[in-house]
Symmetry: D3
Subunit: 136 residues, 6 copies
């Protein structure tokens, strides 16, 4: 019996959308207000889903305390109260769109999880916009 | 790398569930309070999901501003503050159940989107009842 | 010791904003899309607050089951799946704005409650617009 | 045309995570605070999804009133205001983790639904932790 | 300039409504399902409001980290994953209704806060039922 | 008859908590992660409440369209996708705590509203922390 467990977390960060090899004008045309030079920010709400067999001994797919600690060490410690463009190595050369942030979170968590698990990352940039990435 | 981006929108509309080739009694039996003759209404909350490749240049699956404008012109302008049964051509002959409204929204948006995208429509009729349609 | 207990409920209804002694043009100018002739509708979310002494015997301000039943008989049975303009006597001559609906609900509930209670009605017309009325 | 309709419900229950063939110390190590002997509890929020063809006559996948009543008789009557470990037969020998509760709910509902329907059970143990089970 | 800052927290607990000097029959009549002998439980969502002057130096009414830690030590450590009737001294002789729990939380926090602050406790027993207590 | 109408809005902004006449060390001690030099950010959710007489002609306390436009011109245009410390004149010398942001919003809106109205500003910095300011 395979089930999915999901755990919510959150981090607050500044960012701007900006491509270094484009000039300011082109960045503004493509990314609009999101490219403003002094940054803006979001309360990112994160939902991490892990799919696997329900363990017959424990009744758990994965101990949610382990998942919570993993999200804390891999995501919250790295991103919370940071400027994604300036402070987070992954976004030195990668535009911190919600899509790309979700991929980075997926890759960081995937490495730490048993390979039998499927992983899904849902990232709310605002309550109205969100992204889902499953490594597909 | 394929991801899904989702955008929330909303519209307020009146409707009733009613089949013209059934008499009032049969409509009441099948549709209950939803068939009352003078209409009732809902705050429809809509989530549109678009799945596609993350563009390497922009880091976007699709520019959410484009998606937002598309939802506005195709759905909000057509349905908001309207009576679905009386004012919306698609429901002249189609019962405006949440399922059918979702299909109509899907069909309207699908035509306007690049064919490489997968589309998903989630429609909340109330905070307790909702429908998902993916064209399957 | 005085506390406030609050209970949520909801009803779905159609309405339009419309003043009979104004012509269609003036109604449209003042009420905009809300005056469209064929009605639109809302999922009204209602929160009823009752303030009173905490009863030493029961630990209750008021038995919430009693409050729930009162909301059901006075509000839900009267308004749910109805057209407020056409089906609800109070709005034959009163424009069903959120403000006026809140006052009507307040007056209906106030009559049925012990006079020692203070009453507050919170009415969400949409998740973004709401009204509070306390009889003040 | 196949769509999914979802209906929300809820029940309040006490439980503890506990394996009878482990001693108290091992239960505490594995299940932490969730194994405390005098039970704790949750507002379980349940979302039941049913996937099937949209009926051409009614425009329904399934009449949500039927689904609501089914959830009430199979889940709410059995679990609401109960102690899952002590009062619910299924958990006499099964640890009432969110995963296992979701499986039990799935199995109870699946038996009562037409076999042409696909079923999905989403169970929120808290607003931050939830489980999805689809019988896969 | 006086403002109110609010902080959300939560705890999961079991309880039953029960008055020792009433027999089981009377308890069932007054408290209904809430008096079932084996307990049920809730995800209590707590909002603590503190009203005071905005400090000119810091721009804070109160450092929310201090408030968060206070809620943790006074409320979460004492109530979370507990059986309120059996494990929490305050409810040995006091019926753990939402009203009474709010009063107990208020009294615990009030003692630890500077007397210049006004305090408000909002306690959600379920997403549909909640209580407000301000010491009035 | 006096009622309160409330309207929700939102803006995304970067900020840091920082007092210029304190050194970096003292800022870090008092403001913690909120003082990190490269800024972080939030989805600020704003609720503006206006209390006044219900107009007998219209049934409105205030036309919510007017309130919506006022919030847009005074708050959203000024703060959305901005860095509060660098881009917003009011915070050149004022620490952009949630309390101070609420006061600034209150002062900007108060000037534009008829003096017969009472005004309340509720500002969510995160879904867990918020501030209420009423000019008291």
């Amino acid at each position: 019996m395979r089930a999915t467990v999901k755990r919510k977390a959150h981090f607050n960060a500044a960012h701007r959308l900006f491509k270094k090899d484009w000039d300011a004008q082109k960045n503004l045309e493509v990314f609009g207000k999101c490219s403003y030079p002094n940054y803006h920010g979001h309360n990112y709400e994160l939902i991490v889903g892990v799919t696997g067999e329900i363990d017959k001994e424990t009744g758990f797919v994965i101990d949610l305390k382990i998942l919570k600690d993993l999200i804390e060490s891999e995501v919250e410690d790295a991103f919370d109260h940071k400027n994604l463009n300036l402070d987070v190595p992954e976004f030195k050369t990668l535009n911190p769109t919600a899509e790309n942030i979700a991929v980075v979170i997926y890759d960081k968590l995937k490495k730490k999880l048993d390979t039998t698990f499927d992983l899904e990352v849902i990232l709310y940039e605002t309550p109205r916009n969100y992204v889902i990435y499953t490594g597909a």
